[in-house]
């Protein structure tokens, strides 16, 4: 007998799914915002700070993150750090792991944007008596972000998918919710079909959101 699809069995768990979406959105919203902030700082540290030790430290951090699995980073933060007396809730650990991970990748992405800003712009800023930090903030950052905004958006989407891994430490995000429902009703096809659809919608919304944010903050031709 052919398999009988039964989506109704999944919709009984709408509240679980809603909670899962809320957690996933929290992870990417908070993790994404702070991660990009870390990335801007990291890019400044590497390209502009003129502090060798800071450049080196950030460089080591970036390599560490880019050359190890996200799951291991997450496990280390959640299971490993308590040995040092740092106790974190699942959500805290997940958020830290997300920021830690995205911060490194966005450091490199933003740095590429910064390097693409013509040298003459920096010299123009300097010749107007701006400090290096002022040049970075007012002359370099916005054009740099304009150049790499699509790449940053893609990275955010990747990181949102990566947040599924946080189910492994029982953060009740979307994948956790799907696994949970599937373990109750054994409707694997239906559950993961719906989860797939929800991730798709979230990804599209995230891209749209980033486009809107970009138009407002980065590309915005406000004249103030």
């Amino acid at each position: 007998m052919a398999y009988q699809f039964d989506f109704v069995d999944v919709f009984k768990y709408t509240d679980v799914l809603a909670k899962g979406i809320a957690f996933t959105v929290t992870l990417i919203g908070v993790g994404g915002t702070l991660g990009i902030a870390v990335g801007i700082f990291g890019a400044w540290a590497r390209g502009y700070s003129r502090m060798k030790w800071l450049d080196w430290t950030v460089g080591a951090y970036v390599e560490l993150v880019r050359n190890t699995p996200f799951l291991i980073q997450l496990f280390f933060i959640f299971f490993g750090l308590p040995s040092l007396g740092v106790k974190l809730t699942e959500l805290q650990a997940a958020l830290i792991a997300m920021v830690f991970n995205l911060g490194a990748y966005s450091t490199e992405i933003i740095r590429a944007g910064i390097e693409a800003v013509p040298r003459g712009q920096l010299e123009a800023g300097a010749s107007l008596a701006m400090s290096r930090l002022q040049v970075f903030k007012h002359v370099v950052l916005r054009p740099a972000l304009q150049k790499i905004w699509p790449a940053l958006t893609s990275q955010l989407v990747i990181v949102m998918f990566g947040s599924a891994v946080c189910s492994q430490i029982a953060v009740e995000e979307l994948t956790f919710a799907a696994n949970f429902i599937q373990s109750r009703n054994f409707r694997a096809f239906e559950v993961y079909f719906i989860a797939t659809g929800l991730y798709l919608v979230l990804a599209i919304l995230l891209r749209q959101g980033m486009r809107g944010l970009g138009n407002w903050l980065v590309f915005g031709r406000r004249s103030p």
Binding site: P118, G120, Q121, E123, A124, G125, A126, S127, L128, A129, M130, S131, R132, Q134, H138, V139, R142, P143, Q146, R221, S223, P224
Partner: protein, 242 residues
């Protein structure tokens, strides 16, 4: 005491010695043209004068204060010596007005309303009063370069360094920029300009400096330098222009 005094200036890029002992004084209110073949060190000389390049030996002082690579000193120097570049280098994400307002606001702490007034005034001075809200990519090259001049003027510098500021322009746009510079010269601005516009140098400048192989090869009033070049190098250089 000259406004800008240069003594025994040596500058190397690696093993390539680009400036081989420059002695030069530029008086307040003086307009100086720097001419010479490509690669003779003209840009490097200007860039040393406002600290965009560090130098190995010699001394540059502006109003008696030495030019060093100390960041605080550099900013103090650059408040007094502005620079305009061949490629305009306007900030592409800001309007013309904002390009001009930015440095007074963040460097000098000028209030926004006052910065706006200053920007309107200097844009008017370069003939672009109407273009306050235009973005750089909406302006012609000549207009962009005039905004760059306005941007430098807004900081009220004692001297302006101009590095081939008309070389990237279409020929029909050169004149509008030179007219602005001429106006500044007449208003008493101290100017050091690297230029290929010999007619402008002859008409507007007080002195012409011919650079050759990293040295000041000939120097004098335009009438002498252009009509009566003493060295074969300058004769050859001027000969190539016609």
């Amino acid at each position: 005491m000259p406004l800008i005094a240069i003594e025994g200036l040596h500058k190397r890029f690696g093993s390539n010695e680009v400036l081989k002992g420059i002695d030069l004084g530029i008086e307040a209110g003086e307009v100086v043209a720097i001419i010479g073949k490509s690669g003779s060190g003209k840009s490097t000389l200007l860039r040393c004068m406002n600290g965009l390049e560090a130098y190995q030996a010699g001394k540059i002082t502006v109003e008696g204060t030495p030019v060093t690579q100390d960041e605080t000193d550099l900013r103090h120097l650059r408040l007094r010596v502005g620079m305009i570049f061949q490629q305009f280098n306007l900030f592409p994400h800001l309007t013309a007005g904002r390009n001009v307002m930015l440095a007074p606001m963040i460097v000098k702490g000028t209030a926004e309303a006052e910065a706006r007034t200053i920007a309107a005034k200097v844009l008017e001075r370069v003939g672009l009063g109407q273009k306050f809200d235009a973005f750089p990519d909406q302006l012609s090259g000549g207009q962009q370069q005039r905004v760059a001049i306005a941007r430098a003027l807004a900081m009220e510098p004692r001297a302006l360094l101009c590095d081939e500021i008309t070389s990237a322009l279409d020929p029909e746009l050169v004149n509008e920029v030179l007219q602005v510079v001429k106006g500044l010269a007449q208003d008493g601005m101290t100017l050091a300009m690297v230029t290929h516009e010999m007619r402008f140098a002859r008409d507007v400048c007080d002195r012409v400096i011919f650079m050759h192989l990293g040295k000041v090869h000939e120097i004098g009033p335009p009438s002498e330098v252009f009509s009566n070049p003493r060295t074969p190098e300058l004769q050859q250089f001027l000969g190539q222009l016609h």
